[in-house]
């Protein structure tokens, strides 16, 4: 096998960067079926009902992470909680669609704080979004004191609706994922996002509106989190801790899905495989009877392992089976610095 790929390097099969998480999805799915025999598609439809919310948040987080090193949005969790109250409160009087829009806009408003802090005050994104999340937490607490209510029955029916066993929401979010993919590959904004992530300075020199791109991405991420919060309010119910797990989960899902953590390479499909993997895994662990604590430990270890494997596989950004072999098999050549330096000297 090695010989064939070496002799014909052009014909190597390029392993998609979301492939690993897809393998994970299939593996966990298989284990669930083995543990609890039953309808083969049951675990998957279950995971599909919760995954869309995580995918929504993860798509925004992916865009942010794609902006380059240091870019991360840690405010998504608290925005979800806040938006859940906003959408229910507004939706109660003005109808569910206006409610959802209000939830989204409350997210965008929170994102505006981050954007102002990042672009005008030059506060590092992680601190800016953390500070935003503190402000949003206060807003959530105030809203929780003021408003109590349940989501609109119509919206509730929509988020629970299924077509041929597949949740309607999953289809909608899948369409959105395609839209994000289109945006990233076919539009000026998307190319600007990727270019900024690969080299902010180069993007700036090339005349790309880096500031506008950065602002758009953070506002989009916050807006998607707000939308997810509004939908979650109907799927579960508004709560001050509704979104708290989404901050870490969204980052984990993005990384597991194959998006390059150092920016410049988004993988929209990976948001799905990552979210499904996470959903199936927690379903499996609940099935086996693991405690919340043990689940968290496993989640953490998985994130770390995936990042390490991803770093081993992706040398400079493209991931392929060949690169994995290069990196894993002849380790002394690939891993140690002195050898490569030595080589350079000979060439020079």
């Amino acid at each position: 096998m090695t010989d064939t790929t070496v002799t014909r390097p052009r014909r190597t099969f390029t392993w998609p960067s979301w492939g690993w998480s897809l393998l994970g999805v299939i593996a966990v799915w298989a284990v669930i079926i083995a543990v609890r025999p039953g309808n083969v598609f049951d675990p998957l439809t279950q995971a599909l009902s919760l995954a869309p919310f995580l995918v929504l948040v993860a798509l925004g987080q992916m865009l942010v992470i794609t902006l380059g090193p240091g870019n991360i949005d840690v405010s998504v969790g608290t925005i979800i909680s806040m938006a859940s109250y906003v959408s229910v409160a507004v939706g109660g009087t003005a109808g569910p669609i206006v409610g959802l829009a209000a939830g989204t806009m409350s997210g965008v408003a929170a994102g505006l704080i981050s954007v102002l802090a990042i672009l005008l005050l030059r506060v590092p994104p992680i601190i800016a979004t953390l500070a935003t999340s503190l402000i949003v937490t206060s807003a959530t607490l105030l809203l929780a004191d003021a408003a109590r209510g349940a989501a609109d029955p119509g919206l509730r029916a929509f988020v629970n609706a299924k077509v041929l066993g597949i949740p309607v929401l999953a289809i909608a979010v899948a369409l959105l994922t395609v839209a994000v993919w289109f945006l990233l590959t076919r539009t000026r904004l998307g190319v600007g996002i990727i270019a900024t992530g690969q080299s902010e300075r180069a993007a700036e020199r090339a005349g790309l509106p880096v500031t506008a791109v950065t602002a758009t991405v953070y506002l989009t991420s916050a807006g998607l989190a707000g939308l997810a919060g509004g939908l979650l309010a109907a799927f579960i119910s508004p709560s001050t801790v509704l979104g708290s797990s989404y901050m870490l989960d969204s980052i984990a899902v993005v990384v597991i899905g194959g998006t390059l953590i150092s920016g410049g390479r988004p993988v929209p499909a990976g948001a799905w495989t990552g979210a499904l993997f996470f959903g199936l895994l927690s379903g499996l662990l609940n099935l086996v009877g693991w405690s919340v604590g043990a689940q968290n430990v496993l989640k953490g270890v998985l994130v770390v392992l995936v990042v390490i494997v991803a770093a081993t596989v992706t040398g400079t950004g493209r991931s392929s089976l060949r690169r994995l072999r290069d990196n894993l098999a002849p380790r002394p050549v690939a891993a140690s610095e002195p050898t490569t330096q030595h080589k350079e000297k000979i060439h020079g």
Partner: protein, 323 residues
């Protein structure tokens, strides 16, 4: 020492460099003084030894954790697991130290091993530290929840004794804060390991060409950080007399903010222990001040967020204009 004396640049250059390096710390000092005066005006009682003790107590573990974060940030990394790790140490102290002391000690050792492993992975595999420590924060949280799902427990007497020591002539927390700063200062500014850490943060290729193992330097930085974080958790447990995995969850933000406030940067290569302590105490006092001016508890976190943004923005603006 003699080598450094020979290599000293002209006095003018040194003064200018000190001013440039110290100015961010001066901002933290200014903020600290303003907040202290405000607090003293609202509550004159804090100007006594017992008042200062109460006011500064909460800052002691934060200062230790901030020194740890400073060390990590000096090599160019960020530790996002600080909050839950400190919480985990309080859980270990309040649960295992009583029931199974041996297991407790083993878990503390395990934390050190984990930190060494993180450093190894970050250095060898080029994995971003933010993500690895973020992943580890899940692990700390999970272990903490497993050991103690709800806050509680009791700390051993020797541990509780540390924080109940209250001399009448001097506020005890101030002593701890000074000791913590001295430890951070000694590690980063006076030891060879500390110099190498800062070199790793600013000029890693040069350090490697000098024949120094980058892995060893990063591991040593993470081990020092683990030491300070463990001390932070133990002191927090000795103050609260209980274990709670969420006891210090806000430390992750506060320690990073303290380092930046005190003149540190995200790029690495800088370690300013005194500035970091000033930053941490400032942030700790903000909490005290907010509780004194009677704003609703739900608004406190917003005020904290706004103040952090304002102070950081102020620092960044000052830095830009001083150049």
């Amino acid at each position: 020492m003699s080598i450094t004396q020979i290599a000293l640049p002209a006095r003018g250059v040194r003064v200018r460099a000190a001013a440039a390096n110290g100015s961010p710390a001066l901002l933290a000092l200014g903020a600290l003084v303003v907040i202290f005066i405000l607090t003293a005006m609202l509550q004159p009682g804090i100007l006594s030894v017992s008042g200062l003790t109460l006011m500064l107590m909460a800052s002691v573990p934060l200062v230790l954790a901030a020194q740890a974060q400073m060390i990590i940030m000096s090599v160019g990394d960020i530790d996002l697991g600080v909050g839950y790790l400190v919480g985990l140490v309080t859980v270990i102290a309040a649960t295992l130290f009583i029931d199974q002391p041996l297991l407790g000690v083993l878990m503390i050792v395990g934390i050190f091993v984990a930190y060494a492993a993180i450093a190894y992975v970050v250095q060898k595999r080029g994995v971003p530290s933010i993500i690895v420590t973020l992943g580890m924060s899940f692990v700390w949280l999970g272990i903490g929840l497993q050991l103690r799902p709800t806050p509680g427990g009791t700390t051993p007497e020797w541990l509780a004794a540390i924080s109940s020591w209250r001399p009448t002539w001097f506020p005890a927390p101030l002593i701890f804060i000074i000791i913590a700063t001295l430890i951070g200062w000694y590690i980063t500014r006076r030891t060879l390991a500390g110099t190498r850490m800062r070199a790793l943060g600013s000029q890693a290729p040069t350090l490697e060409k000098a024949g120094i193992s980058l892995v060893r330097v990063r591991v040593s930085a993470y081990l020092f950080a683990a030491l300070l974080l463990t001390a932070s958790g133990l002191l927090l447990a000795s103050q609260t007399w209980s274990g709670d995995i969420n006891a210090a969850s806000e430390y992750t933000l506060m320690t990073i903010a303290a380092v930046i406030l005190g003149g540190g940067n995200f790029a690495g290569g800088r370690a300013l222990p005194i500035g970091t302590t000033l930053g941490a105490v400032t942030l700790g006092l903000i909490t005290v001040l907010l509780s004194l001016i009677n704003i609703p508890s739900s608004l406190q976190s917003a005020a904290q967020g706004l103040i952090v943004i304002a102070v950081l923005a102020g620092r960044i603006l000052i830095e830009r204009f001083s150049r």
